[in-house]
């Protein structure tokens, strides 16, 4: 295992020390592993927290700041945080208008955030609403299963809901915006290599030199199927077709197109992918209203990419354009 780390057990704690030292706008509650804005909550603003297993950086801690999250709870690598963390985070960010929890749809995340909401409601009386993202079309959806995984849409949702909260919309309104984002967003990813969980010390899966894992999860969960390596053009089509078919997106729609790197893939390749995505969308008559290209929701050191499309109306678009000032996304401020 080749990683810039010390003891695998200290990975999360030490990264939080680094984040705190690097960003004056952030504070860290090290006991509870919470990254939060250095400024106290603005009264009347809905607080937004998120969190999840670590290993997806900059998600979520890198999205804490004006116009996005108020706090992020960092779990162990690929393991959701525990209820105590969310309870403490809710307390930190509560400005009297209630708190929205952004939860990616994994059994562990959902249960731990739910327990936190239950305990907070019974103890502190703060109103807590959870919105769950489940945008990964690689997973067969069904009410009989855990449903789909939450992936790339989470980034867009945190930005857009964050902007809505900054406008002093109510908790229900912010939650509605968040649900609209999840309802209109779809994603799918592909891995060229496995990731290596530090505590495991070896790659999660073996992938032949000529193979890739189509529909991989951001924790290295196996995807739809293993297929031969393909040119960027074909990969873009393999990822886009299921996305486009699922919502479905139709000609004339405006979208935010998000090409994401999974941690081990350089920007050069992401721009090549974006070029293919942009071309394919043009062929489908879909208008790229905004775009985002970079590594924003990663799977440790995995080489690969995911594509997320979010169908936008004017409200979502103006919320996307609103000022944001976080370590990983920043504009308009």
């Amino acid at each position: 295992m080749k990683k810039l780390i010390n003891d695998p057990n200290d990975v999360v704690a030490e990264a939080l020390l680094g984040m705190e030292a690097a960003h004056a706008s952030l504070s860290v509650d090290h006991a509870n592993k919470i990254i939060h804005r250095a400024q106290p909550p603005r009264p009347g603003k809905v607080g937004i927290i998120s969190g999840g297993g670590s290993g997806h950086e900059p998600l979520h801690g890198g999205f804490v700041g004006l116009g996005m999250l108020d706090a992020a709870c960092a779990g162990e690598v690929f393991t959701s945080p525990v209820p105590q963390q969310m309870i403490a985070a809710i307390k930190l960010v509560d400005g009297g208008a209630g708190v929205l929890q952004v939860v990616k749809n994994y059994t562990g995340d959902v249960m731990n955030f739910d327990m936190a909401a239950e305990m907070t409601a019974s103890q502190a009386g703060t109103r807590v609403v959870s919105v769950v993202t489940d945008d990964d079309v690689a997973v067969q959806d069904s009410t009989w299963t855990a449903g789909r995984r939450g992936v790339g849409v989470t980034v867009l949702l945190e930005k857009i809901a964050g902007a809505a909260a900054e406008q002093d919309r109510t908790l229900d309104q912010v939650a509605d915006v968040a649900r609209a984002v999840n309802a209109n967003g779809r994603s799918m990813g592909v891995a060229l290599t496995s990731c290596t969980v530090p505590a495991a010390g070896k790659p999660t899966f073996d992938l032949g030199e000529a193979d890739m894992e189509l529909g991989v999860g951001i924790h290295g969960e196996p995807g739809r199927r293993r297929v031969p390596l393909a040119p960027a053009k074909d990969i873009a089509a393999m990822l886009l077709e299921p996305i486009l078919a699922d919502l479905p997106f139709t000609s004339g729609d405006g979208v935010i197109a998000f090409v994401n790197g999974l941690g081990g893939t350089p920007l050069l390749e992401l721009y090549i992918m974006f070029n293919e995505v942009n071309t394919l969308l043009g062929q489908h008559g879909i208008r790229v209203a905004r775009s985002l290209v970079g590594s924003y929701i990663t799977a440790l050191d995995m080489a690969g990419t995911s594509i997320t499309l979010l169908k936008v109306d004017d409200d979502l678009l103006s919320l996307w354009d609103a000022p944001v000032n976080t370590p990983a996304l920043r504009w308009g401020t």
Binding site: P83, Y106, M111, V139, A200, E221
Partner: protein, 211 residues
């Protein structure tokens, strides 16, 4: 394990479980790598290490309190799916045993069933969904039946352990419908469920102490 459930016996069981988890840490992680995210061994080991540390620091004097303490520690140190689920399992078992210092051994059956119900309430998994429930439910059934037959606790626990092991093995051909493995659909078939494997270790720990 004596015929009355004491705090000391419960602590011994929990410590033995922690030992088995530590020994099987890599195995559990490998099972999880195949159909999940390669952290189940680390998760359970982190939690059970914290449990042992807490027991070293201060051990409750009531049997039930030992188990609720374990549940609280698991919930606050594990995270993921196994944190709330194993946490709930122990919390409910402890609550079912009540406040008494020692409780009659039959109560273990009641406790395990309460724990199972807690897990099902939290995780919504049914039998056959390829989760820890597939080891836990048969174990609870076997324990109840054995105790009802009037078997001594040690024998009853041994039967429950066998049932858990069989339940664990039966997860291999199943198609996952809950938890992270469910994302795999058909590709989850042919792999043993890590959580069910941990449950089998929990019952194995009990049965080892009974021997």
């Amino acid at each position: 394990m004596s015929e009355n459930l004491s705090a000391a016996a419960m602590a011994q069981w929990v410590r033995q479980f922690a030992t088995l988890i530590a020994q099987n840490r890599e195995h559990l992680t490998e099972l999880d790598a195949a159909i999940g995210d390669a952290d189940h061994g680390a998760n359970m080991d982190r939690g059970m290490s914290a449990v042992v540390k807490a027991l070293d620091d201060a051990q409750p004097t009531a049997a039930g309190a030992v188990l609720t303490g374990v549940g609280m520690t698991l919930i606050s140190t594990v995270g993921g799916a196994s944190g709330p689920l194993f946490g709930t399992l122990f919390l409910r078992m402890g609550t079912a045993l009540g406040d008494a210092g020692e409780v009659p051994s039959q109560e273990l059956g009641t406790a395990l069933r309460a724990g199972l119900e807690g897990v099902v309430a939290r995780g919504k998994a049914e039998l056959g969904d390829k989760t820890m429930v597939d080891a836990l439910a048969p174990a609870a059934d076997a324990l109840d039946a054995a105790l009802a037959e009037g078997l001594p606790l040690a024998d009853a626990v041994a039967r429950a352990s066998e049932a858990a092991a069989t339940g664990r093995d039966c997860t291999t051909p199943m198609l996952a419908r809950k938890g992270r493995a469910s994302y795999l659909g058909e590709r989850s078939v042919g792999h043993q469920d890590p959580g069910a494997t941990s449950v089998a270790l929990l019952l194995e720990a009990a049965s080892e102490l009974g021997r």
